[in-house]
């Protein structure tokens, strides 16, 4: 198919694009068009006479381009990534839905698609939603479908909603489709600091940035568009003169002057989308999409393929100037959403910036003076404007502009209102009526043929960022606008607004307030502005910036017509009336019930009209109804910039032990324990997980096994008061613990519940080696620091986290001593010298310093070898060689868990859940009897903590040994309990024990220790397993095996 090269709506008048601009080709919905370099996708489509670009969110109504900038609610399109085809993009993920056509810079080969239509934009089957649209009004989901369930009552209704209606509605109502593949592009994140951040590069922002920069402040000036200048780029040459220059020329000279100041950084294509506490701003910068990528050979203007697509700038500014401007408000009249109905300022921008006429026969509908200027610009550019309809009386009109327009042949109709728009895929004509003295339509409906309607309801200052920064707003009666209020004194945001966003409309006002804002910002930063500044001379049309709020008088029953307030969310005048009729009084409720002002649009064009309609329906003044809260982001922002490089393997740190490589070589399967990779089990050829785990367990019981315990938390405590500190911290007695001995410590919180445990060794009179659980390491260390620093600062001891300093290898099993013999140096392994719970320092493997604990978490003779992390692999290899010679094994966490469960050793967090006291766990004996206090002690005597029938840790033996219990299963007193039977407790650990050849379990059961020998029942799935309550030490209850 040939490219349409006509661009029939491109005018010959001088546009910002210039005459020498290159022609580029692009595709929209598969059709080929041409545009000019410098076009936006929207301006290029309009140059080809294309207004229809999408279907609406709910009703699938045909929609056209309404705006020229960030506020565009209709023209949301899906962009195929640069250097991709539509087909490959779906596979590669290089495709982006829901972009505004007004913000996409055209490039050669661009391919884009309209959204939310099937099978095509012109013939959308689901436009039927429009026909039965009276069912789709505010609140309809909940009222219509949630209660309706095939006569099956509440359950049926809920089923019907979640399985039938909601998916159907969601499929038919919506925006573009998210790509399925992960995003192949990459995104960067940077931090910046500056004295003054200026958001917005229009007249106010330019003058503010220049003054601040000249005074010596470091300034960042950002603008969402590719060019600085804001509305000055859109105005007709005769309308504004600054410093005896045309507006466009003045912008050029300002840009030059700013570029010459080194302390000012200009960032275009950069959206400030969020403002946070203490001058923290989030900026997203487009760096990739508008630049041709050079995949492979990086030459010339083409950017490297390595360039990030977008960059998140996290800026900390000492002061922030908001110069975000104002957005033109649509007027609310029947069928105001038809393709060809646009904002007046947008039509002016398309002509001035891009040389594009938005139509051949234009009618302007306004309640604001500014649209007269827009009409004059259009007329001057050769666009035929036939009528200008003003809601206001003739006396309110700008006299000079009226005369000029009349001279140009425009018929001015005061005190009249458009009551209907005809034409479905494009405006064909409008009807209007005169208004009587009460402002109500009177007389006959008159029809005017036209292809474009330009509307202007006045201007709404953009308060989004001011509001995000928690700035308060005030209602200004004179201008009928919400404006930024002076900050409340207790707010610490160094924030000031300038230009139209602060209600200072017009160019002279913008320049003045920009300079004033810079002065304020400099004061906030503490920079003296020696030079001062004066505003250049401005000649502009003296116009009023007032407008209209709410629906226009159209004389129709709002139930029979569609007059849109929020175009993106398909909210009409009627929806807002329904919401108030149904009792929504708060504007926040109205917003949620109707969805007006929500989602990606954030009410840019709709907020004030919606509020005004609600206010009138509630018969309350607008300031009493109030403004809803603006949310960040101001515009939709790629997820990619938030993720940055934290994707895939870089998403979260991975912690591995020093001996990780050896575990890999031994064929370990790993499990994630927090950030740690821990060896789960070591399958040999042909072994299933169960085979491997059972072999590992039996080998430890009968021979010897090696276990990497390096993940344990370790804390060194040093100082004369170390024992006193431990005495107050753990439940156990420490003062009499002899040097060279270990003790199992239990830690409570102040509420009296077990939160951690671990073995503590006394290395010297004033030095202890504390171990914690793997997951509790950081928490316990922080808690120790807290008590030492803030509760007991008088104690003279120091805490050092040594978790990463030691590699720990557990050698467990009857042959454990034989493994160490010959490797350790200066250490007597004789049980009379190093008994169970003994500790000794020495060396291993030829002089490597070692701390050796004789401890057991398996119930077998056991040692834990602590060596410096760097020597971990060397020692592990030496121990492994000896273990293998003895036909022993390495074992993983699963075998470790089974071995400890066979012995009834608890795992904090598995057998305890934050409600278990030492007595509940059967460990009251560990409490130091003569201690006056320790963390949590006082709570242990509270009535609930000593009440009878608390849940206690017990063993559970299934009557049928082959039946397995499950962690978390409920324990009840009777077989087949009826629904509602209270549980006695639950299973905390359940395993098959290879050494016992049967299933075992531990559980917390009410009054469990008094129920030894009784039978309880554990429903699992549709079966119930009977189990006997027993002592939780299933294997070697006398503990002989550790004492050899």
């Amino acid at each position: 198919m040939a490219y349409s090269t006509k661009q029939a709506y491109r005018t010959n008048s001088e546009s910002r694009l210039g005459k020498e601009t290159r022609t580029v080709k692009f595709k929209f919905d598969g059709r080929r068009y041409t545009g000019l370099e410098g076009d936006s996708l929207a301006s290029a489509l309009l140059a080809n006479g294309v207004h229809l670009v999408g279907r609406s969110f709910k009703y699938h109504r045909p929609r056209g381009i309404m705006a020229a900038g960030v506020e565009e609610p209709n023209a949301l399109i899906t962009l195929v990534g640069r250097h991709s085809t539509a087909k490959s993009a779906i596979r590669s993920g290089r495709i982006t839905p829901n972009l505004r056509a007004t913000q996409i810079e055209l490039y050669d080969g661009l391919e884009a698609y309209s959204q939310n239509r099937f099978p095509s934009l012109r013939h959308d089957l689901q436009a039927a939603n429009g026909w039965f649209g009276r069912f789709l009004v505010a609140g309809f989901y909940y009222k219509t479908f949630k209660g309706f369930g095939f006569g099956l009552g509440r359950v049926g209704a809920s089923f019907a909603w979640s399985r039938i209606y909601e998916p159907l509605i969601r499929r038919s109502a919506g925006l573009g489709k998210a790509p399925r593949a992960s995003d192949p592009d990459h995104y960067a994140q940077f931090y910046r600091h500056c004295d003054v951040l200026v958001v917005g590069g229009g007249a106010a922002g330019l003058s503010a940035a220049l003054r601040a920069g000249k005074a010596g402040a470091s300034v960042i000036l950002c603008d969402e568009t590719p060019h600085l200048g804001g509305s000055l780029l859109d105005v007709e040459n005769d309308s504004v003169h600054i410093d005896n220059k045309y507006a466009g020329q003045w912008v050029k000279s300002m840009v030059k002057e700013i570029a010459a100041i080194k302390s000012i950084t200009v960032m275009t294509r950069t959206q400030c989308f969020g403002l946070f506490a203490d001058g923290f701003a989030a900026l997203s910068q487009q760096t990739g999409d508008h630049v041709p990528r050079n995949h492979g050979q990086s030459e010339g203007a083409a950017a490297s393929a390595d360039l990030p697509r977008e960059v998140l700038w996290q800026v900390r500014a000492k002061a922030t100037i908001l110069a975000t401007g104002a957005l033109e408000r649509p007027l609310v009249f029947p069928n105001n959403d038809r393709p060809g109905v646009m904002l007046a300022s947008a039509a002016e921008a398309y002509l001035s910036r891009y040389g594009v006429a938005v139509g051949r026969q234009v009618v302007v509908f306004t309640a604001s003076d500014s649209a007269y200027g827009s009409a004059l610009t259009l007329v001057g550019g050769g666009v035929k404007v036939t009528h200008l309809i003003d809601l206001r009386e003739a006396a309110a009109q700008p006299r000079a502009l009226v005369d000029k327009l009349r001279e140009a042949g425009v018929q001015i109709i005061p005190k009249a209102s458009i009551t209907m728009v005809h034409g479905k895929l494009r405006v064909k004509s409008i009807q209007y009526r005169r208004l009587d003295s009460l402002g109500q339509p009177q007389g006959a409906e008159l029809e005017i043929p036209c292809d474009t309607v330009l509307m202007s309801g006045g201007w709404t200052p953009s308060l989004h960022l001011h509001s995000q920064a928690r700035g308060t707003v005030r209602w200004e009666e004179a201008s009928q606008n919400f404006l930024p209020a002076a900050p409340k004194p207790h707010l610490n945001f160094k924030l000031v607004s300038a230009g139209a966003c602060s209600g200072r409309f017009g160019i002279a006002n913008a320049l003045d307030s920009g300079l004033a804002a810079a002065a304020t910002a400099l004061k906030m930063v503490g920079i003296t502005d020696k030079g001062g500044a004066t505003r250049p001379k401005v000649v502009e049309r003296p116009i009023s910036w007032q407008g209209h709020l709410g629906a226009v008088p159209h004389g129709h029953d709002p139930r029979r017509v569609k007059a849109f307030v929020d175009f993106q969310n398909d909210v009409t005048e009627r929806d807002l009336l329904i919401a108030t009729q149904e009792g929504m009084k708060s504007i926040e409720h109205v917003k949620r019930y109707t969805t007006t002002g929500m989602a990606t649009d954030q009410g840019k064009t709709s907020n004030l009209n919606g509020m005004a309609i609600a206010a009138e329906a509630l018969n309350r003044p607008i300031p009493a109804v109030g403004l809803t809260t603006f949310r960040m982001p101001y515009t939709p922002t790629s997820f990619g910039i938030f993720a940055g490089y934290a994707r895939g393997n870089l998403f979260d740190p991975i912690r591995i032990t020093p001996m990780h490589r050896i575990a890999v070589e031994q064929g370990a399967v790993f499990e994630d324990v927090g950030q740690w990779k821990r060896a789960f089990y070591f399958p040999r050829a042909g072994e299933s997980m169960h085979d491997a785990v059972y072999r590992e367990c039996l080998t430890v019981r009968q021979n010897v096994g090696l276990f990497d315990a390096s993940t344990l938390g370790k804390i060194e405590i040093l100082g004369p008061d170390s024992a006193e500190f431990l005495e107050r911290f753990y439940i156990n007695p420490w003062k009499k613990l002899a040097t060279g001995r270990c003790r199992y410590g239990i830690l409570l919180n102040e509420a009296g519940f077990i939160i951690d445990d671990g073995v503590v060794a006394r290395i010297a009179e004033d030095r202890f080696h504390v171990t914690t659980t793997t997951g509790g390491a950081a928490r316990v260390f922080a808690m120790m620091e807290d008590y030492l620093q803030t509760e007991w600062p008088e104690l003279n001891c120091w805490l050092t986290s040594t978790s990463e300093q030691f590699a720990v290898i557990a050698v467990q099993g009857p042959n454990a001593r034989n493994v160490l013999t010959g490797l350790v140096e200066g250490v007597d392994l004789n049980p009379t010298v190093l008994p169970h719970m003994g500790f000794v320092q020495g060396h291993i493997c030829g002089g490597i310093p070692m701390r050796l604990f004789r401890v057991s978490f398996s119930g077998e003779l056991g040692f834990e070898v602590n060596i410096p992390s760097a020597q971990g692999p060397l020692v592990m290899a030496a121990l492994l060689a000896k273990v293998q010679a003895l036909k022993g094994t390495v074992y993983g966490t699963e075998a470790m868990h089974i071995l400890r469960a066979e012995k009834g050793y608890i795992i904090v967090g598995q057998d305890t859940d934050g409600t278990v006291t030492p007595d509940d766990a059967g460990m009251a004996g560990a409490i130091g009897k003569n201690k006056l206090d320790f963390v949590g002690k006082r709570s242990l005597s509270r009535p609930d903590m000593i009440a009878p029938n608390r849940k206690q840790l017990v063993g559970l033996l299934p009557k049928e040994p082959s039946l397995a219990l499950e962690d978390g299963a409920q324990v009840v007193a009777m077989n087949n309990p009826p629904a509602g039977t209270p549980a006695l407790g639950h299973v905390t650990s359940a395993y098959y024990s290879p050494i016992l050849g049967r299933n075992i379990a531990m559980g917390l059961v009410m009054g469990g220790r008094a129920k030894m020998g009784e039978t309880v029942y554990i429903p699992i799935g549709d079966k119930t397993v009977a189990a006997e309550i027993v002592n939780p030490v299933f294997y070697d209850p006398t503990g002989d095996r550790v004492n050899v």
Binding site: D278, R316, A367, P489, H490, M524, E750, R942
Partner: protein
């Protein structure tokens, strides 16, 4: 993201270096056994849950590791003072002085400013009709 001053490092650093550690100036009793159940329950769970100025403990966990006190406004997040652990809580009048000083600093920034909706001070919110042209 807040900026927080560490009274030990004498540096103002971003919030991510710090960890909030709950309400400040709650002292663990020297001998909890002398407290009755109600008093102990108050110590464990009684918190002021203030809307307004709240004394808090923060730890410069990714800096010096020290715990310190701060007084933060729970609505605006403004931190009006920080002090080393163990420093007594400032009296109400001292706190009011700090707030007044901050307020006058802010007034000075905005004095003579025309950016905030012209020269009209305060919050004029007289009732008005919803529409201007009807």
């Amino acid at each position: 993201m807040l900026l927080i001053s560490c009274p030990y490092c004498q540096e103002t650093r971003p919030e991510i270096e710090f960890r909030n550690s709950g309400e400040a100036w709650l002292v663990r009793p020297r001998d909890p056994s002398t407290l009755n159940d109600e008093q102990w329950g108050d110590f464990l769970y009684g918190r002021s849950n203030t809307k307004g100025w709240l004394g808090e403990r923060w730890r410069h966990v990714h800096g010096c590791g020290r715990f310190f006190n701060a007084i933060r406004h729970t609505v605006t997040d403004q931190i009006i003072m920080v002090s080393p652990s163990g420093t007594p809580r400032p009296s109400d009048s001292e706190l009011q002085k700090l707030i007044a000083a901050r307020e006058s600093e802010m007034q000075a920034w905005h004095s003579g400013e025309i950016g905030f909706g012209g020269s009209a001070p305060g919050h004029d919110s007289k009732p008005s009709s919803a529409k201007t042209t009807k």
